[in-house]
């Protein structure tokens, strides 16, 4: 019931968006610049039939997954360190702010210039863009850790592993969720730029080709496929996990 209701609202919201798009496209009557949804769907099917869509999506997804994973692990570790140690925060905190405000494009170009147009440079460029965001979020979480509960765990001799699993990580889980959600959105966007600038495949590369051919329908078709995947991850993974992590709340 709750699941059906949630999916119902989600579908209604998207349907409204598609309807508005359709009406505007019909009013403009320039299908090359703004194709109607059915033309985009046709382009999507055409790209799927050649196999290019799936291949490129999978390649891009793999890059997203790799850089997302690296950024979450390193960013969380860094953020927790900064939140727990004032010295570390004073020493490294300004770097985080610096990287947080460094334009993504600068990091991408530098990675390609220094390490070459290679896969690891591409993944590293995306990860470096995302690490400061994760670190800042997790720093808030680590700084807000309860001293009361830490003392309790110490008196009752929980030990390192039990303290981490039952006391610390549950307190950090809302911060992980926030970092994951905002981070995923950021990674999606940057991965495409990285592909556009220096990779011979992936969605970003295909978009560049479509851009040169002025093929708006294909651009939108890829965007649509991409959007569906992101929505699926949000609905299928992040939201259920959040509900599970929050079931104790009243």
């Amino acid at each position: 019931m709750a699941v059906a209701g949630r999916l119902g609202w989600w579908a209604l919201s998207l349907a409204t968006f598609v309807a508005i798009w359709w009406v505007v496209a019909l009013l403009r009557q320039d299908f090359r610049l703004l194709p109607t949804p059915d033309l985009v769907l046709a382009a999507l099917i055409a790209a799927a039939k050649t196999g290019a869509l799936l291949t490129n999506l999978l390649i891009t997804m793999a890059r997203v997954a790799a850089s997302f994973f690296i950024a979450m692990v390193l960013g969380s570790a860094l953020g927790i360190l900064l939140g727990m140690s004032r010295t570390a925060d004073r020493l490294i905190g300004p770097w985080v702010v610096l990287f947080l405000n460094l334009p993504a494009l600068v990091i991408i170009i530098l990675c390609y210039v220094w390490f070459g147009l290679i896969e690891s440079a591409a993944v590293a460029a995306v990860a470096i863009n995302k690490i400061p965001n994760v670190a800042v979020t997790l720093r808030e979480g680590a700084a807000a850790l309860s001293r009361d509960l830490a003392e309790m765990a110490a008196v009752y001799r929980f030990g390192r592993w039990k303290t981490l699993r039952h006391v610390i990580l549950p307190q950090l889980s809302p911060y992980f969720a926030a970092a994951a959600r905002s981070g995923l959105a950021l990674v999606w966007k940057i991965v495409l730029v990285v592909e556009l600038l220096g990779r011979p495949n992936g969605v970003g590369f295909e978009l560049q080709t479509a851009f040169q051919l002025f093929d708006v329908a294909t651009i939108l078709a890829y965007a649509l496929a991409f959007g569906l995947i992101v929505q699926a991850i949000e609905l299928g993974i992040i939201q259920p996990w959040e509900r599970l992590a929050n079931r104790w709340r009243r």
Partner: protein, 244 residues
């Protein structure tokens, strides 16, 4: 079960927010006999919680020595002023976590919970319970550990009198069933006399022992208002003291 010997040469409350550092303890000595129930009575803000934290080993910022009669690192349970339960773990998990893994621990945790009248709440998350029930869970967690030393920091504060009395009776029963050394901090002299067999009245700062009163009351006597009032008079300084 362990005796405790407390020697605090100096403990300073650090300067904070413009207030200067102030000495909390200087040359403070206190001996707790094995299996005694000692109540520390004194006004709020004196540093009683700090003393418990030093004994519990979560506050190392002092010079002096805390030693235990039956070897270092005794099993200590601490009932804090607030329940300090893990809100994301069920009642049963909260009681189980300090215990070693195994079927024996599960049995013990379940037993203590049912003694506390919490058998039906095992799978409930703490925030869904009333404060009184949360305090009982905190007591259950402490007792399930079968501690050698039980530290209690105003564990019944902010409960209504009926609820607090029920928990005091429960505490007395549990200690009778599983004897242990108890150090109980309170600012309520009634509570101190009712529960403890020794009441140490603290004054200061720096903290010093003002009176040290032995409470020789039977279990029935503790439930008689007149008896409690008589000893309370001694505790509050109206009569002869056992040890100065």
């Amino acid at each position: 079960m362990t005796g405790v010997s407390i020697e605090i040469d100096e403990k300073v409350f650090p300067a904070a927010g413009g207030a200067p550092a102030r000495p909390l303890y200087r040359d403070f000595r206190l001996e707790l006999a094995d299996r005694s129930f000692v109540a520390l009575l004194g006004p709020s803000g004196l540093g009683k919680t700090t003393l418990l934290n030093m004994i519990a080993g979560v506050d190392h910022g002092f010079s002096g020595r805390i030693s235990f009669s039956r070897g270092p690192n005794p099993r200590i349970a601490y009932v804090f002023q607030s329940p300090r339960l893990l809100p994301w773990r069920t009642v049963l998990q909260n009681v189980l976590l300090p215990l070693p893994p195994g079927a024996e621990s599960l049995k013990r945790a379940r037993g203590v919970l049912s003694d506390m009248g919490l058998a039906d709440a095992e799978e409930v998350y703490p925030e869904r319970l009333s404060l009184g029930m949360q305090r009982r869970v905190a007591l259950a967690r402490a007792f399930a550990l079968e501690p050698e030393l039980l530290l209690m920091d105003e564990p019944f504060v902010s409960l209504d009198e009926a609820n607090a009395n029920r928990l005091r009776d429960l505490l007395a029963e549990l200690i009778e069933a599983r004897p242990t050394t108890v150090l109980f901090v309170t600012h309520d002299s009634h509570e101190a006399v009712r529960l403890a067999d020794r009441v140490v009245v603290l004054g200061g700062p720096p903290v010093r022992v003002v009176r040290d009163v032995r409470v020789e009351l039977s279990r029935e006597g503790r439930l008689t208002l007149g008896e409690v009032e008589r000893v309370r008079g001694t505790v509050l300084g109206a009569g002869p003291t056992v040890a100065a």
